[in-house]
Each structure stands twice: as C-alpha cells, then as structure tokens.
C-alpha cells in the first residue's frame, strides 16, 4: 500500500521581516532587566512590585521539561532579548502618527489599521514585538462603555481595574512560563466590558514577532462584568528565521454573573522548516474564571503554527451554573510538536463543561492532547463531556491522548470519548474516483473532521481556518 506523503507547506506567506529601527535592550535577564522594562514603560510602583515578585519566584522554579510530550533543546534564557520596540513617538494621538512602515506591515498581513479599510465589525489591537502600535475603534467602543486598549495604556489609565484583576486568574507563581511572563511582559491587550453591555463589535489582537533575537511576552486581560458579552479574536504570525523565538504569553479572562466571553484563536506562528529548523516556541498560559453565576467562557482555538506548542486554555467554573467550553483543532506537520488541551475545574454547583479536541498529525510531527477534568466536592451535579479525536496522515507521525479525570463527589457525571483514525487510501480513492484531486480530497476529509470546531468560530475566522488547513496540508499520494 502506498502512503500518503505530504509536500512542503505552501510558502509561508507571513515570513517577511520588516526593516525598522527598534529600541532594543541588551540580551539576558536579571532583576535589572525587569526594572529596566518597568522603567521604559513608566510604570507605577505596584506594577514593578508585581514584576519583581514574579521574577524572584521564577528564579526558584524549573522549566517543565518532563511531563509534556515535547522534545526541544534547552532554552538559554540569558540569550533572549526581553524588550524590543519599534522607535516611534511615545504617545500616538492618531494613526497618522504611527510609522508608515508598521502600517504597511500590518496591511501586508491582511490587518489594515486604517478604520476605513477595515472589516466593519472588528476592532484591532496590533502588537509588534514588545509593544502595541495601534488600537482601532477605541472611541466608538468607549461610547458603549467598552474599554479596549493596549496593556500599557490600561496600567496608566485604568490602574484600579488592572490591579484588581491582574494575576487573579493566573497568579505570578502559577507556572514557570507564567512567572517569566509576569516578570517581563511588555504589552498586550486589555478589554473591559461593563455591566449589561453587549460589546457591539468583535475585538481582536494581532500579534507579530519581527525581531529574530527577541521573545514576545504579552499579556491579555479581559473582564466581562455582570451580564456583559464579548467575542474576542486573536491572530499571530512571525517571520521565518533559522533560530527559534520564545513566545510566552498569559491570557486571563474574568466573567462575572451572567457574563459571556468567547475567545477564538487562529495561531499561525512560523512553524520552522521541514527539518525543524527555526520556528516559534509557544508556551502559553490561558485561563478563564467563570467567577459569577450563570457565566460562560468558550475557548476556540485553531493551532497550526509554532515549532513547539504548549498550551492549555482552561476554565475555572466557580459560579454556580457556569459553563466552560473548549473547542480545539491542532494541526502539526513536518517536525512540529504540540502538547495542548485544557483544564476544566468544577467548583460551583451545576457547572457544565464541554471539550471537543481534534488533533491532526502529518509528516514527522507529534500531536498530544492533554486534558484535566476536575470536579471538586462542592460541585454538585457537575457535568462534563469530552470528545478527543486524532487523525494521522501518513505513518511517520504520532498522536497521543492524556486525559486526567478527578471527580470528588457522587452527583456528577463525566463522559470521555476518544478516537484515532487515519486518512485511508480507500477514503482518498473514493473521493478521487468522483473527480476530486488528492489534495482537495485530503482537505475535504480534514475539514469534515474539524467541522464541530469550525462551527464555533466567527464566520471570517472559520473561512480563514479552513483555508489555512488546506495550505498546511498540501498533500499528494506517493
């Protein structure tokens, strides 16, 4: 039987580098680096304290090298540049003052920042290396009471809210990468949806790593007050470099009573070449807290990029009747490795969670689902449904499922279903026999496999995600 072999990715079209003068600090990480970052950002004392506490804790921690199903060379944390910002005026009254080179970069990425050119329904915060360069529709959103701005501005303009929620979901000492991020994070997005407001447009952040030597450490905080609703999208790309770059982000979501947050990601960081040279090391801590009753947090992710993905968007279901959802498509090709999944922690009564994970492995890649469902004693009548499906393309890749289930009361129910399948020659032949090319057939099968997840994405993202999977899996029958 012949095997399905995959051709290389179609050219990664986001692999260009922007030539721009940057304010870069010396490489390496010490307490002085942390102070320098804080100083560059003119931060208040409490923020510096937060960072230093995290840094000191980080020094006592070790990188989680053993439990993830990932193999990569030791990361030299002293060989990374922790702050790299394009040189521009410190405050931007309008987009006219943003460096045209940056506007051009984002336009080339398909994210025009001039409002007249944008999709009408989406506001964008554009993050370039260590800083946010522009946020669109800020004024329009403000009229509805919605705050959407860079993290730097949020610390300056809304210190009480930031101080109240920062670290409340992911504490500084949560894990090695979260501690590192808490010490050195340079920017990110901040969203605040006040009580009773349904955010009138989709909010989004576009992350771009440009500098070959720097890491990106951004922080996102989204707070939805009582009865509020927001849908947030996140996209990311990076140029092609032979060297790996570290991306260690932290995302915190807080939903109060009856609030809903829908968080969607299409991750397309540079994945490295076919032999595994270069690519982003993506170590991300994402967690949402359903703090209030009847609140709901949904994570939808389509992970197609990065050399290494280590990511477990989670929900803490604290409020009674709260709902957590995780819908994931993780695709690995060539030498990519992904260890991704979720944690659903049931604390409140009648809390419900749904996990739908679709892992697709091709080439020599390795794709693991790792998920924890934990039902605490007081979470009476909690329910979880988990479905984990893996699909293998070819015979040199691997897929694993690592479910952890802990139930501490008798009234709850947890369901776990898992399957592993292979795109078979028979399936391909069947579709080809109907006149569909081998490449289109693979794409059709994969998109069918991922349908339950794509249905959760906002329309534009679903189209983008389907297209992206097709590109990543340009296949042929060998």
């Amino acid at each position: 039987m012949s095997t399905v072999e995959l051709l290389g990715n179609k050219e990664y079209k986001y692999g260009f580098v922007t030539d721009i003068e940057s304010d870069v600090i010396p490489r390496g990480l010490t307490e002085d680096t942390v102070r320098l970052i804080s100083e560059k950002k003119n931060e208040p004392a409490w923020m510096l304290e937060f960072r230093l506490k995290a840094y000191r804790h980080w020094l006592t921690m070790t990188e989680p090298k053993h439990w993830p199903n990932l193999k990569y060379p030791t990361i030299d944390y002293q060989d990374i540049i922790y702050y790299s910002a394009p040189k521009q005026k410190p405050t931007k009254a309008s987009l006219d003052e943003v460096d045209p080179e940056l506007l051009k970069t984002f336009e080339k990425l398909g994210i025009p920042l001039q409002e007249q050119k944008q999709l009408a329904g989406v506001a964008v915060d554009a993050v370039f290396d260590s800083v946010s360069v522009a946020t669109t529709y800020k004024e329009k959103l403000k009229k509805h009471g919605v705050i959407f701005c860079s993290f730097t501005e949020a610390i300056k303009d809304y210190p009480q809210i930031v101080q109240k929620y920062l670290g409340s979901v992911v504490p500084t000492n949560d894990n090695f990468f979260a501690a590192l991020n808490s010490a050195v994070f340079s920017d990110g997005s901040f969203c605040f949806i006040p009580k009773g407001v349904r955010c009138p447009m989709e909010l989004s952040t576009y992350f771009r790593i440009n500098n070959a030597e720097s890491g990106q450490f951004e922080r996102t905080l989204i707070v939805a007050e009582e009865g509020a609703y927001v849908s947030y999208l996140e996209g990311c790309t990076a140029p092609k470099f032979d060297k790996n770059q570290l991306h260690a982000a932290v995302v915190e979501l807080v939903a109060l009573d009856d609030a809903q947050i829908k968080y969607s990601t299409v991750q397309n960081w540079y994945a490295g070449d076919e032999e595994g040279r270069g690519g982003i090391y993506n170590f991300v801590t994402k967690r949402g807290k359903c703090a209030g009753r009847n609140s709901k947090i949904s994570w939808t992710q389509v992970e197609t990029g990065s050399a290494i993905t280590w990511k477990y968007p989670s929900c803490i279901l604290q409020g009674d009747n709260s709902i957590g959802e995780f819908y994931s498509v993780a695709l690995t090709n060539h030498a990519q490795q992904a260890d991704t999944g979720t944690k659903m922690i049931h604390l409140g009564k009648n809390t419900r969670s749904t996990i739908i994970s679709k892992g697709i492995a091709a080439g020599k890649s390795n794709n693991s689902y790792r998920g924890l469902v934990k039902v605490m004693p007081k979470a009476e009548n909690a329910r979880n449904y988990t479905q984990c499906d893996s699909m293998l393309i070819g015979s040199t890749c691997g897929a694993n499922t690592f479910p952890y289930i802990e139930v501490m009361n008798n009234s709850s129910s947890v369901e776990h279903e898992a399957s592993t399948s292979k795109i078979s020659e028979e399936q391909l032949f069947y579709l080809q026999q109907r006149g569909i090319s081998a490449e289109d057939a693979v794409s059709l099968i994969i998109n069918g496999f991922c349908k339950d997840v794509f249905l959760q994405l906002p329309m534009e993202f679903a189209v983008e995600a389907q297209r992206l999977l097709g590109l990543k899996l340009e296949g042929s029958v060998g």
């Binding site: 032949f429 069947y430 579709l431 026999q433 081998a438 059709l444 069918g448 349908k451």
Partner: protein, 258 residues
Amino acid sequence: MLEVRNLHAAIDGNEILRGINLTVKKGEVHAIMGPNGSGKSTLAKVIAGHPDYEVTAGEVIFEGRNLLEMAPDERAREGVFMAFQYPIEVPGVSNAQFLRLAYNEKQKHLGLEELDPLEFKDLLKERAKVVEMEASFMTRSVNEGFSGGEKKRNEILQMAVLQPKLAVLDETDSGLDIDALRVVAGGVNQLQSPENAVIVVTHYQRLLNYIVPDFVHVLANGLIAREGGKELALELEEKGYDWIKAEMQSNGTGAPAN
C-alpha cells in the same frame, strides 16, 4: 469506448488478472461474472485506478486515450465512474457538499458552468428522484450511518449527478434486499443511453433480471473463460461456476494448484 487488451494486474506481487481482453462500445451493457477470487472486482478497480493494484502488462484505452496513465481523479473527470462494493464514509462532509464539489470539478474540466449551492440543490433534487432518495440524505455526512441499501442508492445517486460515459458497478447487488435491488437497478436503467456504457460486475444472475446485459463475460482465475449473451448468465445460475473451473483445469489455463 473501452478497449482492454491483454491486461495483467497484481496486488502485493500476486497476479490476479492474467490477460483480460474486453471491448465495450457506446450504448452497451456488459456483465462480468465469476466465482469469488476470479478477479472481477480487481478488473473494476484497475479500470478506476485503485492504487493498490499494479498493472504488469497490457493496456486500457478509453475514448482513444491511455487510461492507465491517468490519475484516478483524472479518469473520473474524463467520465469513468465506479460504484463501490463498499462505499466509504466521510464524516463531517455533507452529501450535498461532496456531490457539488465532484460535480463542479467535472464541469470545470469540461469547460462548463459550475453551480453555486442553491443551483446545485435544484439539480440534486431532480437527480435524487432516480433512486427515490429523500432530501434528508443530502444534509447527512457522506455514507455515515447509512444502511447497506442506502449506501448503494447513494452510489447510484452519484452516478446520476456525474452522468459518466462509462459506469462500472462493482457488486452493487451485494447485501441488497429485493426492494432496494429494484430501486438501484431501476436507477441504472434510467441513466442508460445510447451514448454511455455500463459494466455490471456481479456474482449472481439476480441483478441481471433487472439490468439486462448485451454481453456476459465469465471470469475464472484472472482470465475470461466464457463469453456470450444474456442466456449465459442463466446457464451459470443453473449450473454454478464449478464446471467452468473444471473446464479450465482440463485445458491447462487454470491457476497452478496450491
């Protein structure tokens, strides 16, 4: 339309077809019969281009072109259709989506107009009548959770949508009850025209009561052992296949004894 000349084919190094000759003209219906393991399904799959089979000698000419040089999808777009003995499930892909993609690929190939989902829906509704299929089938995933009979009807629906020049039905009657058999055969008959041809691969004569062949070819041990008109099928029904096998053994064309 189709010329098969001295066709030899093997799977995993075992030769299954050992020199098949077959000529099919427009408007004809041919039946390929034979006992299990005689190579009749292999012949169907080789014509369609199944990747498991290696053609070791001979040629297959379709409409003046060498079919063996074409990829399976190319053959399909040129008008070769095979109804599968075991239709394959494609989870998450709706029947309508799949059929429209296949239909448009063919239209594109022929330089004809492609249809958008709404236009295609109308076409599908019309063609579905051929196999008495309900609209609900169109939104269900391809063959997923279909009964044996539904799967076979779905094959004929695909044939109705794609309107091939040459349709090869690989044991379409297997696993069908008499009502389903009637519907499926009725569908095939409706699609028959002086411009196209049908090859019916079957073990039993039963299907040939409904789809009446112009020619019957009996395969044994990878060779055509007998040829004749529709009456040959009736003779086989009566006598079974053993006498053909015995005949081949005695004249030295049988497989070597294992």
